[in-house]
């Protein structure tokens, strides 16, 4: 042990105070000057991108919520069904063929993806491609002569972004195919505008070590049909697996057990059964397995803090559904509740939008805080409602592979 300490001491004392300090070289300053000159041109947009991205995502979440909130007003239509003859004691399973279609189906497919725009083309042939900001990229070769290479041959902003929280020359790019909500499409269009189209190619060759992680999440959320003004609080518990597939992209999937209670007006409740007396509203409690498939884009990574935005699709596998029918008059004769078990699988019927803040506690464990919005693309449940949720998922993440050893050459 003492020998080791001696060795450390020799190096510490010998290296701490260089007797023979490296002499200043004018070309080193010239290289730095070029970096500084390059930074001035770019700093305007580069430094604002993470903030703009965050604001855009928050706007997206807010407008999504607002859009649904305002939509409830549209659904306040007077009841207009003609009630059939009373069938007392009927539980609703053997109803007639009439289906109520007041709320037209809006099968919208909204696919969103992120396009990474690499800062600058290919890497140089040198082992290191560190200099993030050398504009014209002057650098010495091994003989000490000044050589130049294009700025495109450097990984210019990656290191900077990792250490300074500066987003690379990239933006969030969301492509819409069909969007049923006008506001959403406008907003997503704005988000597209952040992405510089010129640099939309992916980095051609990046050696990257995939990172895998398992997370346990718990999430209180607000569930509703039509708008969040009358939302009910549900709970979610789940286990997620994520894989960092590219430097900034992470795929995640898993299983979340969700208890989603909600209220819906009877117009939005679909059933083949003809009610003797039309209920005013329906209180539902759905238990389901939510299987999300999301992709996250990392926009900020500094010290132990990470911020990412994600989107993806969820599949709902129904476990149990309970519907309680409420009538205008307490003693109305008619079905009071209805239970459904294991009925319904809705693959990729829900659009997920989320923003995640993750803090790494140590190399293995991290905690996360994720506000999210789940928007319906299809009607779900026995009642075929357009069920939306918003909430905050709190997670504990366990990294499966920390960088235990440097990779062999």
């Amino acid at each position: 042990m003492n020998k080791e300490k001696d060795l450390d001491d020799i190096f510490r004392k010998g290296l701490e105070d260089p007797v023979d300090e490296a002499a200043f070289r004018e070309e080193d300053w010239a290289a730095l000057q070029q970096m500084l000159a390059g930074q001035r041109k770019r700093s305007g947009i580069i430094y604002w991108l993470p903030i703009l991205g965050s604001v855009a995502a928050l706007l997206l979440l807010f407008l999504g919520w607002w859009n649904f909130k305002t939509k409830t007003v549209d659904h306040q239509q007077p009841l207009s069904h003609v009630n059939g003859p009373a069938k007392q004691g009927h539980t609703g399973t053997g109803g007639g063929p009439i289906r109520q279609t007041i709320a037209p189906k809006q099968d919208s497919a909204l696919t969103a993806g992120y396009a990474k725009t690499p800062p600058a083309g290919t890497r140089g042939s040198k082992s290191n491609a560190f200099l993030p900001q050398s504009a014209a990229g002057s650098r010495r070769d091994t003989t000490g002569q000044l050589t130049t290479e294009s700025a495109g041959e450097r990984r210019q902003f990656e290191v900077l972004s990792a250490t300074q929280g500066v987003m690379p020359v990239s933006g969030v790019s969301v492509t819409t195919q069909q969007v049923s909500k006008g506001d959403l499409s406008v907003l997503i269009g704005k988000v597209i505008g952040l992405s510089p189209s010129k640099n939309s190619k992916l980095k051609p060759k990046v050696t990257f070590r995939p990172q895998y992680a398992i997370s346990v999440i718990g999430a209180p959320d607000l569930n509703s049909v039509g708008g969040f003004s009358d939302g009910k609080v549900g709970t979610n518990l789940g286990l997620l697996f994520s894989a960092g597939v590219l430097r900034k992209f992470t795929l995640s999937t898993g299983v979340i057990y969700s208890a989603k209670p909600y209220n819906t007006s009877f117009e939005q409740y679909h059933t083949p059964y003809t009610f003797p007396v039309t209920p005013t509203n329906v209180t539902a409690d759905c238990r389901m397995l939510d299987v999300p498939l999301d992709v996250d884009y990392l926009v900020y990574n500094k010290h132990q803090n990470k911020i990412s935005f994600g989107t993806g699709l969820s599949s709902y596998l129904m476990v149990h559904q309970n519907y309680v029918f409420n009538y205008a008059y307490p003693y109305t004769i008619g079905p009071t509740n209805y239970n459904v078990r294991n009925n319904g699988k809705y693959y990729f019927g829900i659009l997920n939008l989320n923003a995640t803040y993750q803090r790494q506690l140590n190399s293995k464990v991290g905690i996360s805080f994720q506000p999210y919005l789940k928007l319906p693309l299809t009607n779900v449940g026995y009642s075929e409602v357009r069920l939306q949720s918003t909430g905050i998922a709190l997670g504990l993440t366990w990294n499966l592979n920390t960088l235990t050893k440097p990779i062999g050459k």
Binding site: E4, L15, K409
Partner: protein, 213 residues
């Protein structure tokens, strides 16, 4: 450089005055290079890392608390960019087979006459992963847990890399010693060792010590 002069320079740098930036760069060139050289494999690499550090200094100078010593702040930045460089080049790093180094006996290291350049050359010859951990532990004084968090590795890996770094350094010291003096301290022979007199490399000592042009 006096405190007052330094603060004037910093003020100038805050206004993005190139002349002030250059003067600050020159003033702390040797100090910064001293840190980066320890983490880098050679001078050119160290220069790249150092310039990256100065780039951060000049672009984030507003976050510097003037009541604290500038040199310490600068040193921390240089260390951090060196670590970032290590992370960025992790895929290029490699571990060396240490089988040959395992059986090194512990001779008396204290008696070795090693100057700055010898020590620096030895540290630079270490594989990057070993070198980084050795610097952080032995020279900067961080614990294995802190190093693990900084480098995103396990504390066990940090310990292992430190051990391997020490083994390799010992190997280099004894090799240098035997080649210079012709007698090994570890030979077990009862002979008077010839102490090698290392010629101090004075190149550069008197060059450009002044910061002014």
């Amino acid at each position: 450089m006096g405190e007052e002069e330094l603060h004037q320079l910093i003020k100038g740098c805050l206004k993005q005055d190139r002349k002030c930036q250059k003067l600050l760069y020159k003033a702390f060139y040797g100090f910064s290079m001293g840190i980066c050289l320890r983490y880098a494999g050679n001078r050119d690499e160290a220069c790249e890392v150092m310039n990256q550090g100065f780039f951060k200094v000049f672009t984030h100078l507003d976050s510097y608390d003037t009541s604290r010593p500038f040199k310490a702040w600068l040193g921390k930045i240089m260390m951090n960019v060196s670590i970032d460089y290590y992370r960025a080049n992790l895929k290029m790093a490699y571990t060396e087979d240490l089988e040959k180094a395992e059986n090194i006996s512990d001779g008396n290291l204290v008696d070795k006459n090693l100057n700055y350049n010898d020590l620096l050359r030895m540290v630079q010859q270490l594989p990057q992963a070993y070198r980084t951990v050795f610097n952080l532990f032995a020279i900067e004084g961080y614990s294995h847990d802190e190093i693990a968090a900084m480098l995103n590795i396990n504390a066990g890996t940090s310990k292992s890399n430190l051990h391997k770094a020490r083994q390799k350094l010992k190997q280099m010291i004894f090799k240098a010693d035997s080649s210079a003096g012709g007698a090994s301290y570890n030979s077990g022979m009862d002979c008077t060792p010839i102490v090698a007199i290392n010629v101090v490399d004075i190149r550069g000592v008197f060059l450009n010590k002044g910061i002014r042009e």
